[in-house]
């Protein structure tokens, strides 16, 4: 599972990296005379409203969507895990503040909060990452805090502390290795949500801005043509689903690993 998932995501990312070698058209080059062409030997997936090669845009999209989904997962994960550890291990006042903050964040529906934050920061990829960091840390903080709290009372941690091992060492050598497998599983399933969120925001014209070949944006560009050139919207969505399934498989693999311990 883990290997299959990682290969899917890795392969798509690699295709994105090699996109300039794999395609013969510039993803941004417009050709108004050749707009809305049907799939052919030259344009494998036809051209869009502005006459840009859809196949080339699809492959180049992997350079935007996959890394951005990963970054939008990593940043909140680091923040959330840190806050979760501080909350659970050192506790008390910090714990109260962090958990109330988490309550407030969770009072907002995710997409409402995303749209409001992006509104505040202005549309774009950077705003998306910042907004994700503001929202998604909560899940990690809650997960890690709960794990740390339950591990804290376990014999091996108590024994380590009784043996006079310093707090930092107990944390690094005994606590974290037992928490991280769950965090990895959570990260992989969070990556699915980040990927979909990026595409959704771009679809609403609040994410990655044109003319970048972002998948959600490409779906939006094709919406007015679904009566005739339906593939313009259908194909980029398929790319999102494939990468999403890849991340899901990784999550599933990590979950099984964590359960086996």
């Amino acid at each position: 599972m883990l290997a299959t998932g990682l290969s899917i995501v890795g392969l798509v990312f690699l295709i994105g990296l090699l996109a300039p070698l794999l395609t013969s058209h510039d993803p941004l080059a417009q050709n108004v005379r050749d707009r809305l062409a049907s799939p052919s030997g030259d344009h494998w997936l036809g051209t869009d409203l502005l006459g840009r090669d859809v196949f080339s845009r699809l492959l180049h999209g992997a350079r935007i969507d996959v890394p951005l989904a990963v970054i939008a997962t990593l940043v909140p994960a680091v923040i959330g895990v840190t806050l979760g550890i501080v909350s659970g291990f050192f506790g008390r006042r910090v714990d109260a503040v962090v958990m109330r903050l988490a309550d407030v964040v969770q009072a907002f529906p995710v997409y409402i909060f995303l749209v409001a934050l992006v509104f505040l920061l202005g549309p774009g990829a950077r705003s998306f990452v910042v907004a994700s960091a503001c929202i998604s840390w909560v899940g990690y903080a809650r997960l890690v805090r709960a794990e740390v709290l339950s591990l804290k009372g376990r014999d091996f941690i108590v024994a380590a502390q009784a043996a006079g091992i310093g707090r930092r060492r107990v944390l690094g050598r005994h606590l974290l290795p037992n928490v991280m497998p769950q965090v990895y599983a959570y990260m992989a399933s969070d990556a699915v949500l980040a990927l979909v969120a990026l595409a959704s925001l771009s679809f609403l014209s609040l994410g990655v801005q044109p003319p970048e070949p972002e998948w959600g944006r490409m779906i939006a560009d094709g919406v007015d043509r679904i009566r005739s050139e339906w593939w313009l919207s259908a194909v980029p969505g398929l790319a999102i689903v494939i990468v999403g399934i890849g991340f899901s498989l990784v999550a599933y693999g990590f979950e099984r690993q964590a359960a086996r311990r």
Binding site: R100, D103, V104, Q106, A107, F108, P109, V110, Y111, I112, F113, V115, A116, V118, F119, L120, G122, S189, V192, L193, L195, V196, A199, S200, F203, L204, S205, L206, G216, I219, V223, I226, R227, W230, S233, A234, G237, I240, V241, V243, G244, I245, F247, S248, A251, Y252
Partner: protein, 311 residues
């Protein structure tokens, strides 16, 4: 019980207050000078200053916040940036569409996910169960707006039964307009609800009272109905209460995809037009909805299962 209701309501109010303050802060962080925006680009410095005074922007921040909260309590969210209409009126106009979408989708989601979970749980680990688990994780990777578009391509376009988007005038038109959005929203919820229901039903199925029921000779349907289903009710209600945020998130995308004139679409249009009052008002309305949903859900759960009160 009464004590629990009071405590839970107070907690909800506390979170709401913080949310309101946060929404006020939103206004303060928006780049640009609101007075200059109202005055227009050609206004003189004096005109801008007098508007700033009129809007009360020269007052102490605490005073401004107090005034803002006072306006909210009266249901006054200010007017749209172009001054054409009141935000509260717009919300009132757009609310029914969203309520329609949310209520029908929740209803269908409940039926579909209960059915699927029951099918899966009857024989854990077998074909149907696995199918349910796999579809669940694939479902999460499907962007709901894209699913909506695919439905338009493969259902609405060839059959002509449903409009390609938009709302209708008559009741019949509206029913037809809501079908595909409802299916889309349901499809984005079902993977989550089915998965969670399946887990809680498996837990019930393995519990001692089900074993007891089996030992007195109950089998099949009656065991399921009286023991498994009954006891799965509490986690089901709890699950749906916790779903509010997800459902409202879903309406933003689904309404935008199907061009439905609801609150979600209003939010997106407001963000694109950079309309502070619209975003602020809707943020407050949505957050209030979620908090209300959660509080009521918790109370219903506590009423169904008195043990929870004491936790």
């Amino acid at each position: 019980m009464l004590q629990f209701v009071a405590r839970r309501s107070l907690q909800g109010l506390a979170v709401l207050l913080v949310v309101l303050v946060a929404s006020f802060a939103l206004l303060k962080f928006v780049p640009g000078d609101p007075a200059r925006q109202v005055a227009g680009p050609r206004a003189t410095e004096e005109q801008v200053e007098s508007i700033r005074e009129d809007l009360g922007l020269n007052d102490n921040v605490g005073v401004q916040m107090w005034r803002y909260l006072g306006r909210l309590v009266q249901g006054d969210f200010g007017s749209t940036t172009n001054g054409a209409s009141e935000v509260a009126d717009l919300i009132r106009q757009n609310l029914p569409v969203t309520l329609w979408l949310v209520s029908t989708s929740l209803f269908v989601t409940a039926i579909v996910s209960l059915g699927l979970a029951l099918l899966a749980v009857r024989r854990p680990g077998r074909l149907i169960d696995r199918l349910v688990v796999v579809t669940g994780s694939v479902g999460l990777a499907v962007p709901s707006f894209w699913l909506g578009i695919v439905l338009l391509i493969v259902v609405a376009r060839p059959t002509g039964w449903f409009p390609i988007g938009g709302w209708g005038e008559s009741f019949g038109e509206r029913v037809r307009a809501i079908v595909l959005p409802c299916v889309t929203l349901t499809a984005s919820l079902v993977p989550v609800t089915t998965r969670s229901l399946r887990t809680s039903m498996l837990k019930v199925r393995r519990s001692e009272y089900v074993a007891a029921g089996r030992s007195v000779g109950l089998t099949g349907i009656s065991l399921f109905w009286h023991f498994v289903l009954r006891n799965s009710l509490v986690p089901t209600v709890a699950l749906f209460a916790s779903l509010a945020g997800m459902v409202l998130s879903g309406t933003v995308l689904v309404e935008a995809t199907f061009a439905l004139p609801g609150l979600g679409q209003m939010m997106v249009v407001g963000a694109i037009n950079r309309d502070v009052n619209v975003i602020q008002g809707l943020t407050v309305v949505f957050a209030t909805g979620v908090i209300l949903f959660n509080v009521v859900g918790d109370i219903v759960v506590a009423w169904l299962d008195p043990r929870i009160e004491r936790r």
